[in-house]
Symmetry: C2
Subunit: 131 residues, 2 copies
Amino acid sequence: MGARRKTARLSAGEMEIMQVLWRLSGATLSEAHGALGRPLGYTTVQTRLNRLVEKGVVRRGSDRPARYVATVEPDEVGARHLDLLLERVSGGSVVPLVAHLVRDRELTREEIAELKQLIRDAEKKRRAGEK
Amino acid sequence: MGARRKTARLSAGEMEIMQVLWRLSGATLSEAHGALGRPLGYTTVQTRLNRLVEKGVVRRGSDRPARYVATVEPDEVGARHLDLLLERVSGGSVVPLVAHLVRDRELTREEIAELKQLIRDAEKKRRAGEK
DNA sequence: CGGACTATACGACAATCGTCATAAATTGCA
DNA sequence: TGCAATTTATGACGATTGTCGTATAGTCCG
């Protein structure tokens, strides 16, 4: 089985880099640096990338301008944070969080349709797995 | 519009304390210490509480055994983290996050009903605020 | 070849975090 | 009143984070 589970804790700044890596499906240092929305020192990005590699969530290729690729999925990391948030903030209850997500936010017709579908699926699954 | 001071960034450990404060609606140092699930040094909790006060998210009463009370709501803090997560992980799209929240999780009939209502409300508001 | 760039390696540093120990001040009682 | 228990005040210290500067190694072109 995989030895590598238990994703390390990532700081806000590190998440910022991960986001770029996920979006671009990997990137060189300069690409990542350029893709950041805000101005950040080149070596700052370099340092973050190095730390991410040390933590094992990013792999550094051997190509010329080294290519950095995330070894974990957004969902994987996001899930961790989300679940933690769930525990910490609402004591594990999803409704308050979802409420916040959909309230005070503009949603498109498509999003609403997708959300409805999600709820329907959950409902269906619930009925099926009734204990 | 009140002093909408932007809530400071809270670390994981600090959130742990906030959670206790929210749950107990405020607490003294010893109460907070005792209410923590895991063993943590008494003064460690004291330090965290102090830092929370410095950050302005907790107020320290003048009673004898000083009473610490959160000055921000769980929603307020959670919202910040949630919005950040939203940006970082799914690029601002709520559906993936909600999907994770409802999928692979047991939901009660009540929760599903509440979720449905939330979506309905969002839909209604959307139609009304169409511009 | 010999610069001009580009890419990497290193190291520095202050701020924040996580954890406490110890000392001083207060309070509650016997 | 005097002391033990409880509260508070400080100070410490290593790990992590956020940000860079500088120095060295590689590459590419004229």
